[in-house]
């Protein structure tokens, strides 16, 4: 059952392809090499039948055609003549090189010679191989039609009656998929040893689970997690799915070496690092060599800049129609999918381009008729030109909005999940380059003319920023300068921002509150918004997780009454050595985990509810990865969702009852097993005693054979029976007085 790549033989790996793909051409190529000499010959069929006299004429006429693809001569054409003095309608031709022969087959086959005759060009080797007697059946035999095999439903997990979520767990060398059962132990779906070599990854809508092996990427799916697709990218290290699961990008540090007989990869892939695959067909769309990210410019020229892989190298537009890659500092290449041609046949030259991000959704913009995909990019200051952030519309490549910035050290682009806003986080240095500050420039993409709002500059540098999914609030973490040589990191401040309430449109962004003197560095929003966890991860000394509610249903602080938020800290939880925080896609549960990839202390994962109540703690040896299975978008319309929300109480009643029932069942089961175990134990003891008594009889030993041999010993120690009472006399000097008598 263990489906590791190691145990899969070559044959296993290619079994599907072997059924579907005809290797004969490849094999033919291969065999030709063994049979040196004959591969320069081609056989030409379909020639007119002419008398011997006019044979030379025909050959000359034919040579004109033959020489268009290679070099041959009159002597090299042999046209047999029958007993009747007529040509046979075919000829043998020798070319100078095998390549020319191949070219002749490719280009001349099926080419009309004149109105009546069409050339049929085949390699002599092929005629030998296939044309021999007995090799081809005289009668046509229809290929057998494979009986239809029902494939497993790829979304079967969505049909769970209690709407539970699945997750993948990678620990030690085993990968398992489980159902989340709240505080009860998770229910196993599959558990396989050596399922992956490097890591596992879900596709963005949860359809496939990808495992990564030296031979390539494998996708698994369906109720039993059977093999679905294979992408044989040798020594693949990183993978990335497109947002709608149509395509897969794979990367290996080592350039691909295409081996002979590889059915999927062609010579096009040779020497490349990146392949963009079509998941449906399992074929590569196009392959690329990777650009290494230029290291930050160093003053010291001698130091070789450290190479860094740019990942994801290819970024997908929300509708999956375009994929783009940046050549650091030079250009953006936007490809159309699936033909993988550059949009407008050229890359977009942008001097100094440092980073870009696609809008995660197709944005409906005011005053624009045709909604196109948007992407945002920025360029640093070059010479006297200011730094620039710009928004481009694709495919028209029109720049929608640009903004110039000064004294910029770094820029980070954060799209809100619906593409309604882009927050441009600008790290600015003072003129002396001694102190740093951060500006937030928020592009309101949906509004006419894309106005930009500047949020008051923050004195400290912002180390993390996150938008509320589908919302218009965000959280950021600021930090002061780290004291040099300090063991603990600098204190951080967590700031919550929301819009002012202002009719139907969102007002300006305003600070709600700042929580100072934290150590937090990670922001994890619930995928449904409203709840957010601010955590300290990857830290040696602190590991707290603060669960916040942004729409607390209680009293509101007076000063914040104009803001569309009511911030409340719900709970603080600690998880020693936490490295990752992950919400399930419904926003009901959160898993915090400590992975052995980061450190080897107390690895494992804990399950919490959205409000910070810990449901279970699962210390796991060599724990590596915990991944919630993503869910596809809901089919319910907005109205239907509203309806569900309205009747939530009734629905939840049903589920509460189910839960209660399950708990009852579980409790009874526990009590029953305990009863059974206890009676078994008591029975075992009784039986042992009986056997022992019998043995004593047999050996003729006294009842107290095991007790110490008092008779032979010096009498020592107290009696065995009554519990000994130890009397201890403790003297304490309460007072000491000294009197001089006399």
């Amino acid at each position: 059952m263990a489906p590791s790549f190691e145990q899969l033989s070559e044959q296993d790996l290619h079994e599907e392809e072997e059924e579907e793909i005809d290797f004969s051409d490849l094999k033919a190529q291969f065999e030709v090499k063994a049979d040196e000499g004959l591969d320069t010959f081609v056989v030409i069929d379909g020639l007119p039948v002419v008398p011997e006299d006019s044979k030379q004429k025909l050959i000359k006429f034919l040579l004109r055609k033959l020489n268009t693809v290679g070099n041959t001569s009159e002597d090299a054409v042999f046209m047999p003549v029958s007993d009747k003095g007529m040509s046979e309608g075919f000829a043998f031709v020798e070319y100078e090189t095998p390549e020319q022969a191949v070219a002749a087959v490719k280009q001349l086959h099926g080419v009309p010679l004149d109105k009546k005759h069409t050339l049929a060009v085949n390699k002599l080797m092929d005629i030998e191989r296939y044309g021999r007697e007995g090799r081809v059946d005289e009668e046509y035999q229809a290929p057998p039609v494979e009986p239809f095999k029902e494939k497993e439903h790829l979304r079967s997990w969505m049909g769970d009656s209690s709407a539970r979520d699945q997750f993948a767990l990678y620990r030690n060398d085993k990968v398992g998929v489980f159902w989340n059962n709240k505080s009860n132990p998770p229910e196993n779906v599959v558990d396989r040893a050596h399922w992956t070599q490097l890591f596992v990854q879900w596709s963005p809508k949860g359809t496939f689970l990808a495992s990564v092996h030296p031979q390539g990427v494998q996708l698994w799916g369906g109720a039993s997690f059977s093999k679905q697709k294979q992408f044989p990218h040798p020594f693949v290290q990183l993978i990335e799915f497109s947002p709608l699961e149509g395509y897969l990008t794979t990367w290996s540090a080592r350039p691909i070496q295409v081996e002979e007989g590889q059915p999927i990869l062609t010579n096009d892939e040779d020497g490349k690092n990146i392949i963009v695959w079509d998941i449906e067909s399992g074929k590569p769309l196009r392959s690329f060599t990777s650009h290494d990210l230029a290291a930050p410019p160093t003053v010291d020229e001698d130091v070789a800049p450290k190479k860094k892989v740019q990942w994801p190298a290819f970024k997908w537009s929300a509708d999956e129609k375009y994929v783009a890659r940046m050549l650091q500092g030079q250009s953006l290449s936007i490809y159309e999918v699936p033909n993988m041609n550059l949009v407008g046949r050229t890359s977009v030259k942008i001097e100094g381009v440092s980073d870009f991000e696609w809008s995660p959704a197709t944005v409906t913009r005011e005053g624009v008729k045709q909604y196109e995909q948007l992407l945002c990019f920025w360029t640093p200051e070059i010479g006297s030109n200011p730094a620039r952030v710009a928004m481009m519309s694709v495919p028209s490549k029109e720049i929608v909005r640009t903004r110039n910035l000064f004294n910029v050290s770094d820029v980070k682009l954060h799209w809100q999940s619906q593409g309604a806003y882009v927050c441009v986080k600008v790290d600015r240095h003072s003129k002396s380059k001694k102190s740093m500050a951060t500006n937030l420039e928020i592009f309101r993409v949906k509004e006419k003319g894309v106005p930009v709002e500047v949020v008051d500059s923050l004195k400290d540098t912002v180390i993390n920023f996150a938008w509320e999914p589908n919302g218009s609030r965000f959280v950021l973490i600021t930090t002061g300068e780290a004291p040099a040589g300090a063991a603990v990191g600098p204190r951080t401040g967590v700031s919550f921002f929301a819009t002012e309430k202002k009719g139907s449109t969102a007002g300006n962004f305003k600070l709600v509150r700042t929580v100072e003197k934290k150590t937090s560095n990670g922001i994890y929003w619930s995928p449904k918004g409203r709840f957010v966890i601010v955590a300290t991860v990857h830290s040696q000394s602190s590991f707290d997780l603060d669960f916040y509610d942004m729409d607390f249903e209680g009293e509101k602080v007076e000063a914040e009454k104009d803001l569309a938020a009511n911030l409340q800290l719900m709970k603080t939880v600690e998880h020693y050595g936490v490295t990752d925080v992950q919400w399930d896609s419904t926003g009901r549960y959160v898993v915090t985990s400590a992975s052995v990839w980061t450190h080897s202390m107390e690895n494992g994962w804990n399950l919490h509810t959205f409000s910070g109540q810990t449901l279970s703690e699962n210390p796991t040896e060599k724990f590596k990865q915990f991944l919630w299975r993503p869910r596809p978008a809901t089919f319910l319309s907005k109205e239907e969702q509203k309806q569900v929300r309205k009747n939530l109480r009734e629905y939840s009643k049903e589920f509460d009852e189910e839960d209660k029932y399950a708990v009852d069942i579980a409790n009874t089961a526990v009590v029953e097993t305990r009863k059974r175990v206890l009676s078994e134990w008591v029975a075992w003891i009784r039986r042992e005693k009986e056997i022992q008594a019998e043995e004593k009889d047999v050996f003729g030993l006294p009842e107290d054979a095991d007790s110490p041999k008092h008779a032979r010993d010096a009498p020592i120690g107290g009696s065995d029976e009554a519990e000994a009472v130890v009397e201890e006399i403790v003297e304490e000097i309460i007072e000491e007085t000294e009197e001089v008598i006399g």
Binding site: E688, A714, I716, E728
Partner: protein, 336 residues
């Protein structure tokens, strides 16, 4: 449950034993000294001096007359508990890792280390309690050689019917103490995970093993069947069965050489209490700041002592709540 801290050793503890009455505690450590303590208040009664190397093991004769110790100086010494005199020294070719008196005290077994071309052995010595305690047999009455995997610890079953030995490879074997034949050998723990301790139940029909594979197992002495398994999250050095209440106490912790940080939290230096029958973890007792090397329980089940790599012995007398705690099913059983 305020512990009594016995701080008389200068190096890590290797074994602790209560005597049969439970009023005395004997502790041995790598500092070559054997200490005797009053269990009630932790006052030191005295020391037994003479060993030239780390003392690995100690056992008290059932009548609290003689004390046997085994040491890295390749000797087993027999002491007169009352006077503190060394009454007998047996020399072995290698270090002695475990000594144990038979249930009636008439025999003593000694487990010797495999080293310098010598295979590990289990030697049985006859013990004499006559007028003159110095009058002891010079040679072992039996020698069992462990050909495959060396024995690490050993003990006597009920009626001294079997010698049970646990091995370096994680297996447990049963020997006939009369002939020295191996009767059974069962791989109970993960292969190549050493078993560090075995201790018997008061009636010696079952015993508990503590292994490096992070689990302890309760086995039947008669057929070596695994009765219960107690999984822990750290390598175990010692395990003990409590009389009176159906619990087991496990002790261990990340070995010092494997600890990357010095944080006590990470080391898991806690004594763990499990329910013997239901295999549930009931509680933990903290306090040591090094791995727990040895645990022993008061024969009447009212206290336990643990000795750690940190050089301390901690004696805990149980509170009322310890004795009151009961599972609902146990209570039902009682009522019947």
């Amino acid at each position: 449950m305020r512990p009594i801290l016995l701080s008389g050793h200068e190096r890590s503890l290797t074994q602790i034993r209560f005597n049969r009455d439970g009023d005395l505690i004997f502790s041995v450590s790598k500092d070559k000294i054997v200490c005797a303590w009053w269990s009630a208040n932790g006052e030191r009664l005295g020391t037994y001096n003479g060993h030239q190397g780390a003392v690995w093991t100690v056992d008290v004769s059932p009548n609290t007359v003689l004390l046997a110790t085994g040491s890295a100086d390749n000797t087993v010494r027999l002491w007169n508990i009352k006077t503190g005199d060394c009454v007998k020294v047996w020399d072995f070719p290698t270090a002695v890792k475990r000594v144990a008196f038979s249930p009636d005290g008439s025999q003593l077994l000694a487990v010797t280390e495999k080293r310098m071309g010598f295979l590990g052995t289990i030697a049985v010595l006859d013990i004499n309690y006559g007028e003159n305690l110095e009058d002891q047999a010079a040679e072992p009455s039996l020698k069992i050689t462990c050909e495959d995997s060396k024995a690490t610890v050993a003990g006597w079953s009920f009626l001294a019917k079997y010698i049970i030995a646990a091995h370096e490879d994680g297996s447990v074997s049963q020997y006939d103490p009369k002939t020295g034949d191996q009767l059974l050998n069962v791989q109970v723990h993960e292969f190549d995970h050493q078993i560090n301790d075995i201790q018997f139940s008061p009636d010696r029909t079952s015993f508990i093993t503590a292994s490096k594979d992070k689990s302890a197992k309760l086995l039947s002495a008669r057929d070596l069947n695994i009765l219960k398994t107690y999984p822990a999250d750290t390598p175990l050095n010692s395990a003990s069965i409590t009389p009176k209440k159906d619990y087991v106490i496990l002790g261990g912790g990340q070995a010092a050489m494997d600890v990357t940080t010095t944080s006590a939290r990470q080391g898991k230096f806690e004594a763990r209490f499990y329910h013997k029958v239901f295999e549930d973890e009931i509680g933990r007792v903290r306090g040591h700041f090094g791995p727990l090397n040895t645990i022993d329980v008061h024969p009447s089940g009212t206290a336990y002592a643990s000795g750690g790599e940190d050089g301390y012995v901690r004696v805990h007398h149980f509170d009322k709540s310890y004795f009151d705690f009961m599972y609902e099913v146990e209570r039902e059983q009682m009522r019947k």
